[in-house]
């Protein structure tokens, strides 16, 4: 067990080991992930109210450090940044080039406050980038030494549905340390150790052994969260349900609302699509290849010789949803969704994946009859 002030020692211990420490902090009306100088920069006493298309900060009546759900950012910001330079080339003499590959900046990272769903999100991106035939070198370099301090949720958001996706709210694996914040009685944290490195860092913190009462309180906090999910989703047979309903009329209905703005894919911790751009200097003696986050909502994303394969908003929304919840299983052996609710909250018009999937399930027979 540690007290709230020991979180400062945690930040210091990680900094002392050369980590760039990142964690939740309040900025511009939201809880974002950014550099932490000390644990005093955590969103102390803050919470959030989330609904489809709406996010607001609110004060809590306690000093909780982690009394909120996930915000607009995810750890993907750091492990898989929005823009990286693959290489830069410079003409050295006629016909010759000198190529430079800049190393990833900022690593090694220590993330404080990784939620259970986010651990699953990182595991999914690990599968995508590290376990295929082609390892993503940049991701590998950023991910390799990352130190993860997980936090078990006790205050789920209005758009959370990790219980349905089997990804939370309790961190089960993939962390170095896991914290459970206990507000009942003395403000304290149960610390669980997930790795040798984690144990070693914990030794630097002022602490005491956990007692039965501590364990009970921690368990109750997480169970309380599981019982208060903002949303739920019936995942039975989801992959096949979607495959059977590619011409469902709901796709037209949702397309009338979808802005094809791509916000949902940008905030999704598992979405991984990128585009490559080559740039040259005016004189043509320097070139750079960059990788940028792209989205299946952009017309160019499905551009192949002569035109886009998905010109309509309907086909683009369907591509995203059926990949995330359906064909992801074929490709990577799991769902692509971790139930974090970001796409629901940060969609400017509040399109809710759980509602869309439920609507297709509810009216499947009707559409079958029409076929």
């Amino acid at each position: 067990m540690i007290g709230p002030e020991a979180l400062d020692d945690l930040v210091a211990a990680l900094k002392g080991r050369g980590f760039r420490v990142l964690g939740p902090t309040v900025r511009d009306g939201a809880i974002v992930y950014d550099d932490l100088e000390s644990a005093g920069e955590l969103p102390i006493g803050w919470t959030d109210r989330q609904e489809p298309g709406s996010y607001r900060l609110d004060r809590r009546d306690d000093e909780a450090r982690f009394g909120y759900a996930v915000g607009p950012h995810s750890w993907k910001q750091f492990l898989f940044p929005a823009r990286i330079s693959f290489w830069q080339a410079r003409r050295v003499d006629e016909g010759g080039f000198e190529v430079r590959e800049p190393p990833p900046e900022g690593a090694p990272f220590a993330f404080i406050g990784v939620r259970s769903c986010e651990l699953h999100g990182i595991a999914i991106q690990d599968r995508v980038f590290l376990e295929g035939r082609h390892v993503d070198r940049d991701y590998e370099a950023r991910r390799r030494d990352a130190f993860l301090v997980a936090v078990n949720c006790f205050e789920p958001g209005g758009t959370c549905f990790c219980v349905s996706m089997g990804t939370g709210p309790k961190a089960e694996a993939g962390y170095d340390l896991a914290l459970t914040e206990i507000l009942d009685g003395e403000h304290r944290f149960l610390v669980q150790v997930g790795s040798e490195r984690g144990a070693e860092v914990l030794r630097d913190l002022p602490r005491r052994d956990a007692e039965t009462l501590d364990l009970q309180a921690a368990g109750a906090a997480v169970e309380g969260a599981a019982a208060r999910m903002g949303r739920s989703l019936d995942t039975t047979d989801l992959r096949d349900l979607l495959a059977r309903n590619l011409e469902h009329e709901r796709w037209d209905e949702v397309a009338s609302r979808c802005l094809t703005c791509g916000n949902c894919t940008m905030v999704c911790p598992t979405c991984f699509c990128t585009s490559i751009e080559d740039h040259t200097s005016l004189a043509g003696d320097e070139a750079e290849r960059v990788r940028l986050w792209d989205s299946c909502y952009s017309v160019d994303h499905s551009y192949i010789h002569g035109g886009s394969v998905r010109p309509s908003g309907r086909s683009r929304y369907r591509q995203w949803l059926t990949h995330k919840f359906g064909t992801w299983h074929d490709q990577f052996g799991t769902s692509g969704c971790i139930g974090c609710g970001r796409c629901i909250t940060w969609c400017p018009v509040g399109i809710d994946v759980t509602e869309e999937l439920a609507a297709i399930r509810a009216t499947e027979e009707v559409s079958d009859a029409n076929d």
Binding site: R27, V32, L259, T260, G262, N263, L282, P348, V349
Partner: protein
């Protein structure tokens, strides 16, 4: 390699405020490099010295609002191997296209002391309504990095890397907190063409739509959301009727 003759660049102005030409002058660090690569043959905003055409690349700022403009843009086209329009005026008619939705005679009589000196067409139209255009660069004003990208790509014979997705794409890449979702501030970002790097939301303001409609703008859906955020019908009319009024009106008709 034998030193090739430098390509000739011309910059033309039609009905406009000169802001986009200033974006070119604003490329301070790159202007020297540009002068090294091209012969700046015609650019009155920068120099009175001019070189006769034909030109390899013409940048055209401004919309067509007079009978003389109609003639002049045809001559410019004839003298130009490639013609690129820059800015909301040249690509969409600009803010002056507001007159397309009213009686121009009424405007003239209210605004000018001696209306009979004013000779103007009833409409403000984009350059592409009059002559074929090789590339349209959006923005009010254009973004100087995008302008450099367009000039560089034409110099090297490749396609410009200019994305036509939403401003939201850039907003999220930048890590900005969405002002619409988190603050309830109306924002045109979801229907607006990327290019500015999502400047306004980064300064806590909604997007004004300077770059015109994105590739597939769903204006009816955004309009419903603007109403949810408390904007009335008149407010919605006003936000869509600015620098790219014609382009957004077209998107709203088609939507």
């Amino acid at each position: 390699m034998t030193p090739a003759k430098k390509p000739k660049l011309a910059v033309w102005k039609f009905s406009s405020c000169d802001g986009c030409q200033l974006s070119l002058l604003d490329c301070e660090d790159e202007l020297l490099a540009l002068a090294g690569e091209v012969e700046i043959a015609y650019f009155l905003e920068a120099s009175r010295a001019t070189v006769k055409g034909p030109y390899d690349l013409s940048l055209v700022e401004g919309s067509v609002t007079t009978a003389d403009d109609v003639e002049r843009i045809r001559r410019v086209r004839q003298m130009s191997r490639k013609l690129v329009t820059i800015g909301a005026c040249a690509t969409a008619g600009g803010i002056q296209a507001l007159k397309n939705f009213a009686d121009v005679g009424d405007f003239i009589s209210i605004v000018y002391a001696t209306p009979e000196y004013v000779s103007t067409l009833a409409t403000s139209t984009p350059i592409s309504a009059h002559v074929p255009v090789d590339f349209e660069l959006h923005g009010c004003p254009i973004d100087k990095r995008q302008l450099l990208e367009v000039m560089t790509s034409f110099l090297h014979g490749r396609r410009p890397q200019i994305s036509s997705t939403s401003v939201c794409t850039e907003c999220k890449r930048r890590g900005t907190v969405c002002v619409m979702v988190a603050h309830g501030t109306p924002c045109l970002g979801p229907v607006t063409h990327a290019g500015c790097g999502a400047l306004c939301p980064a300064y806590d303001r909604g997007c004004y739509g300077c770059f015109g409609p994105m590739e597939t703008p769903n204006t009816p859906s955004l309009t419903r959301q603007l109403h949810v955020l408390g904007m009335g019908d008149r407010g919605v009319e006003r936000v869509f009727r600015t620098f790219n009024v014609e382009a957004f009106e077209e998107a709203r008709r088609d939507g």
